[in-house]
Symmetry: C2
Subunit: 424 residues, 2 copies
Amino acid sequence: MTESNPDIEISRRRLLGTVGAAGAAGLALGATGGALAHSAFDDSPAGASGSAGSLASLGATQVAFDGEHQAGITTPLQAKGHVLAFDLAPGAGRKEAAALMRRWSDTARLLMAGKPASGADSGIALDAGPSSLTVTFGFGHSFFERTGLTSRRPTALDPLPDFSADRLDAQRSNGDLWVQIGADDGLVAFHALRALQKEAGEAARVRWQMNGFNRSPGATAAPMTARNLMGQIDGTGNPKPAQPDFDKRIFVPAAGPGPAEHAWMGGGSYAVVRRIRMLLDDWDKQSLAQQEQVIGRTKATGAPLTGGTETTKMALDKIGPDGKPVIASNAHARISAPEQNGGAAMLRRPFSFHDGIAADGTPDAGLLFICWQADPLRGFVPVQRKLDRGDALSEFIRHESSGLYAVPPGPRDGEYVGQRLLEG
Amino acid sequence: MTESNPDIEISRRRLLGTVGAAGAAGLALGATGGALAHSAFDDSPAGASGSAGSLASLGATQVAFDGEHQAGITTPLQAKGHVLAFDLAPGAGRKEAAALMRRWSDTARLLMAGKPASGADSGIALDAGPSSLTVTFGFGHSFFERTGLTSRRPTALDPLPDFSADRLDAQRSNGDLWVQIGADDGLVAFHALRALQKEAGEAARVRWQMNGFNRSPGATAAPMTARNLMGQIDGTGNPKPAQPDFDKRIFVPAAGPGPAEHAWMGGGSYAVVRRIRMLLDDWDKQSLAQQEQVIGRTKATGAPLTGGTETTKMALDKIGPDGKPVIASNAHARISAPEQNGGAAMLRRPFSFHDGIAADGTPDAGLLFICWQADPLRGFVPVQRKLDRGDALSEFIRHESSGLYAVPPGPRDGEYVGQRLLEG
């Protein structure tokens, strides 16, 4: 899979000289687009055929749809995101689901290449490049009943256990089909959302939909771990793709010891999606020292309270002058630390959300928590179980919705996502 | 006022060589920040003191708070926005309003320079540069009763006339105080929103709040007129700051023929803010040809249906083979054309909005229409009156809220916004 390039500072010299990954995407822009997109570029004062066209690095960054894994899992965080679930329409089954996944895959493949959707394109993304657009598809537990495929449903999709802090809204949880859209441009992301909703046609209807965002590329002096809306650096403990066991932790083995009827998930991953409301008014009333005690890390740098930098290992046994652990026993960083949970078995890749003001006058804002793992029972579940018991952060957050989805592997050329399940 | 630079492609060579406007802002980053921000930069692997710090052009772009006019009027469109209105709290009057405007101005000045708010900063914008942040303040009609200043209320603030197509929600309209926040980074914008809400303290409470977005810098190959969520190029007819009568149309004269009691508005402007819902499901059912007839322009390029490019003057008298005007008599572009309305007397500077799915299942999306003018009776009102009578677009949109605000001039060094009214 072509990774999008987080470095937006590609100089004109470099782009016109050596054609690297992003450079190739930029130059490819001139050749993309159907009639509508093409004429837009031709008529613009400095179209893609001119040198100015090569300069739009944010817009030009392209992520491949086809590949071993679906895009949007290890792709760098994008500035805008939509996550939504669909339910198959009454009467729709395996055949309609297969046709829908083919339409969706065809559309996603076009849009991620910066081309308009086939048929009547809304034009919302015209002029813009692919802007790191990714579209990711998953299947929920109920999908397998609807399609008569329960015998091929992995046990990893068994419903998550209840957690005592859950305040889940069933209307915004689960769903037959799950779609994640991310892009560095808001109109490109919205365009994809509309195009996919349109392709759903009569086969499926939206169950819930959420909007999110992350930092824009180039907002920080150098690429850094993201902050969330509490102001906390969030994602320090994430496994890195360069680590030798990364694939094993995040992706289902292509040919593994699992039952053969689940072979369609080889190269896939499981996504846990939680709308985690942050009680920001309460959080902001805490002093900096109190916040740092709750988290166990220095707010400004993300370094453990036991010293060092963001990436320094926490000295969990270190005792302070008061005889208590410097990183409190209920500190969020301690409880969620990979080394306290048999290694980091999940990759967190969230969006922040902000839906204005809730009925009670507080901000309806927080984290669209999305984590990826080869097995939720070794990833999300044990960590959340521990957090549920004794995380100091829990009084400042509220889990409002939950979904668990089987995200099939990336399609091989010409395939659609999920074909190995639906036609296997 | 320093304008933000829409060109995100500043090569390392250029930035380290000639120090231009954006370069200066980038270099200034190393000197900004209180204790919290400063330590974050120091501890990062490639802080602002290193060369990597100079490269974050999106983050480094800074807009001046002080100046002849407030920022956020002629500033290029930003990728993220929040607009919100506050009502003064019961019992709060002129004194509390003055203190609030001072606190807000102090905070906005700090944040727009990329510094944390004084006191306990939430940290949400840590690591990021100012990212073109602007904060703009305005006063609604009711503000003058609340502060005992009705004698100094300009007649330009008289309530807008009713339009037949209005479906206005009073709860999301008007308000004593109006705040517009824009930035190219979502966390920087949210940080400013939270900081300003906090500074409101007991003096004022939020009446309504809306979130918006525009294209990200660099998403298109060259800077282009924006598109809206209908896919239409939107803003072609906008007056350009280089035009000789631009200031006269958009800003209240510094010392003009108006009554002396309104001199506090010299250099200010009036903002009309309308939440315009787009009925996108209906719009998307129209063929491309039908959409182009409604608008009077080619969708892909924005060129008039009578030919040329986006900036070609419409041939409004041109008759087609069917004996009818090529640009229909009810085409949106004809009715709203500057030449049909005594010249373009308003500057439109909107954000798109998308708040998920409405109760009826359609997208709750559209345009946060914001337009700027020296006099609403010569800007928004006559155009909207004509559109209200016979715009073919009107069946696809719905005005859901409305506000009109007097936006005072920019502060002189040390002043707060509105000081010439509140202490004059």
